[in-house]
């Protein structure tokens, strides 16, 4: 008979046979094979998912990390009084209209030893410096007119192409016709780098600049502020509305057909494609209510509608998780229904509500389609000072930069994606920490 039966100390042959009944080697082998196979499927699925995640994050970080740095050139700029203020009146209007680009270019010619009589050389040199230098120098003079007539060492932004070259995004081994930087320019860049007059530093402009057609001066200020206003409006509206609706449905509403229908529809609302919310927002908030286009207020209202079902569902789930014995205990000492809810049930479900809200916010901050519908996809140069001003949002800014043609916007797009993912990661970690911290086991 089988090995198990023989090894056993049981002398009783009946017992040996009972063991032997389950001792079918073919069946056992098949069962074990099935287990191994199933675990292998699981591992493959996880490995596949993880590898895609690694590829995704890998490419975004590879393309985007350089966006946090910016190349600048140090130039000894001579604020020539004859050039800026030929009349000597220090008239603000005259100061604003002077040709500051020329000052920078002249400083550059001196620095590089460019022959000013050669037009081609001049143009090649001019292309090293960002066109933004004009407004940078103008701002310097406006804030301190005393610098007129002196020579100052100023760090000015390098142009997008120079920046891309310095970051290795343009290959110097390519033939000259195939790259946007000429051999002459490369030799100047090398010279500037060697003398320490060209350096990469942290790019604060990424966070403080607004929309620009030059990649080196384009920033996320409008998008960050727009997203912030949207979040603020979503939190202020969807939390009270959602929590109140959830408490009413869970604790007070009678269980009947109408509440069943409401419940089903809330769940359905969570599954409605977000662009539909955008259409709704366009029709109701802009066309009917007459709220301004491109405003973060409208974006916030639309995304509140989008987030509301998530908040309601999360809140209801965490209210249901509070055991009925707690409600009975409160009612038993003579607390009213409202008291039992607000003194006991709500505080106990708060961690779940907070987590659900943060997850809803994470959803809202990554939402793009409805914002396109209400015109938050715009070239906004002024920092919005209120939710009524035109603004964009982070994901929309990423979309807009992705459609730009210039090379420098590739890293901007990836950089903005890193910023967005960073914000999402922080919010998710916050939700996780809160859940772990206040989690209660019953």
């Amino acid at each position: 008979m089988s090995a198990v039966a023989q090894d056993s100390s049981m002398s009783d042959s009946d017992a040996a046979e009972t063991v032997g009944r389950f001792d079918n080697p073919a069946l056992m082998r098949r069962r074990r094979r099935e287990e191994v196979r199933f675990q292998a499927y699981g591992l493959i699925a996880i490995a596949l998912g993880m590898s895609f995640l690694v590829i995704l994050f890998g490419t975004i970080i590879r393309d985007g990390w350089t966006a946090f740095f910016q190349t600048s050139i140090e130039l000894p700029i001579k604020f020539d009084a004859a050039e800026i203020d030929p009349d000597g009146t220090r008239n603000a209007n005259a100061l604003a209209q002077a040709n500051y680009q020329k000052l920078a270019n002249q400083a550059l010619y001196g620095q590089l030893g460019v022959d000013p009589s050669s037009r081609a050389q001049r143009q090649a040199a001019n292309a090293l410096v960002s066109r933004d230098v004009d407004s940078q120098l103008r701002a310097m003079v406006a804030s301190d007119p005393k610098i007129i007539g002196t020579t100052q060492n100023v760090w000015v932004l390098a142009s997008g192409n120079v920046d891309a070259f310095a970051k290795g995004k343009i290959d110097r081994e390519l033939p000259q016709e195939n790259r946007q930087i000429s051999d002459q320019q490369i030799s100047w860049i090398d010279k500037l780098t060697a003398s320490g007059a060209m350096e990469k530093s942290f790019n604060t402009g990424l966070f403080t600049n607004t929309a620009s057609s030059q990649p080196e001066t384009a920033g996320l200020a409008v998008a960050l502020l727009g997203s912030f206003y949207i979040m603020l409006i979503v939190v202020l509206l969807s939390v009270p509305l959602g929590v109140a609706a959830a408490i009413y449905l869970e604790e007070f509403a009678p269980r009947n057909r109408i509440t069943d229908i409401i419940e089903v529809n809330i769940n359905n609302l969570a599954a409605v494609p977000s662009i539909v919310f955008g259409l709704l927002g366009l029709a109701v908030f802009i066309n009917f209510a007459g709220l301004p286009r491109s405003a973060s207020l409208v974006g916030g209202l639309v995304l509140t509608l989008r987030t509301l079902p998530t908040v309601i569902i999360a809140t209801r789930a965490s209210i249901t998780a509070v055991p009925p014995s707690i409600r009975e205990a409160a009612l038993g000492v003579g607390a009213s229904k409202v008291q039992s809810v607000f003194h006991h049930v709500l505080p106990l479900s708060l961690p779940g509500i907070i987590t659900g809200t943060i997850i809803g916010l994470v959803q809202a901050i990554g939402e793009t389609a409805p914002l396109l519908m209400i015109g938050m996809v715009a070239f906004v140069v002024d920092v919005p000072s209120s939710p009524l001003d035109p603004a964009t949002a982070l994901p929309v800014q990423i979309y807009m930069w992705a459609t730009e043609a210039e090379r420098g916007f590739v890293e901007k797009t990836a950089g903005a994606t890193i910023v967005l993912l960073g914000i999402l990661a922080v919010m998710n970690i916050l939700a996780m920490v809160l859940r772990k911290r206040y989690e209660r086991k019953w």
Binding site: P254, R255, P323, S325, I326, R327, E328, A329, A330, L331, G332, V333, G334, A335, S336, Q339, H343, H344, L348, R440
Partner: protein
């Protein structure tokens, strides 16, 4: 079928409960008449009537689903919290019909305290557990008052000495028996007229059970206590009167001795001798 007569002097429980004095009018704390309870279409309790004297323990016994807990939950209108439940008939607590039209069920629950099957302290401190009732009913005029109520309630529940050093510790951190005594302290902190106990020892070990039973016997001196129990020995130990329920009917109600020694109804006899249940 239902015997409402009280036979004072017939009590002789194992805890040597003092007999009610003979010949004096008995003071009924609770009087129920024609109480029927429906859960939707299903009737769970059929026209039950009972008189429960003050300062004594009344035990409800019977097999599962016999309606004893349902009846108990009528005394503090806890059945109101179940949407499908409907209660007919009248129940007088201290002479006042708690199902009257002008009665606020929330106030009824303050007058009639309840201890549940599973210990259910609030996930708050021991102090807050006991202080909650007095606080929402405005029973304490000052912080000192409130502390006095909490200490006194814990003392009466026989828990004070065990927890006096950790009143700000979590109530849920206590042992099962301590939690149940905390729940009793919470119930008596609002000075109720009646304490209902729905199988208060079913989740406890024998030692914790003995302590609760001892406590019930002490509380009897000041309160009218109604206890539902599955444990017939417990009913015999702690109660002066016992009511036997079966299939939604009150079969027999008498002194505990009478029910256990000399039941009148065959069903009672079958149940207490273990033939069903």
């Amino acid at each position: 079928m239902v015997d409402f007569s009280i036979e004072p002097g017939a009590l002789n429980s194992s805890l040597a409960a003092p007999a009610l004095p003979t010949g004096q009018p008995v003071d009924y704390k609770i009087t129920a008449r024609n109480v029927s309870v429906f859960y939707g279409e299903k009737q769970a309790l059929f026209s039950v009537g009972i008189d429960i004297p003050d300062r004594s323990v009344m035990a409800f016994i019977g097999p599962s689903g016999c309606g004893k807990s349902t009846f108990l939950r009528c005394f503090n209108r806890m059945n109101d919290t179940i949407a499908s439940a409907r209660v007919k008939g009248e129940i007088l607590v201290q002479g006042k019909n708690i199902y009257g039209p002008d009665v606020d069920p929330v106030q009824v629950r303050a007058r009639v305290g309840m201890v549940f099957q599973k210990p259910n302290p609030f996930p708050k401190t021991i102090f807050e557990n006991v202080a909650y009732g007095p606080r929402i009913h405005g029973l304490a005029k000052s912080k000192g008052d409130l502390e006095e109520i909490v200490v006194k309630s814990l003392q009466r529940a026989g828990l004070f000495n065990e927890v006096k050093d950790r009143l700000d510790g979590e109530g849920t951190g206590l042992s099962g028996g301590q939690q149940q005594r905390l729940c009793i302290a919470r119930a008596i902190a609002v000075s109720p007229e009646v304490i209902l106990m729905d199988e208060p020892c079913s989740a406890l070990d024998p030692i914790a059970t003995a302590k609760i039973e001892e406590l019930i016997d002490e509380l009897r001196e000041n309160y009218c206590i109604v206890i539902v129990t599955h444990n017939m020995q417990q009913a015999a130990r702690v109660s002066q009167r016992t009511a036997f329920f079966h299939l939604g009917y009150l079969v027999e109600e008498d002194t505990t001795d009478q029910i256990f020694m000399n039941p009148k109804d065959k069903r009672t006899q079958d149940y207490i001798t273990g033939r069903f249940g």
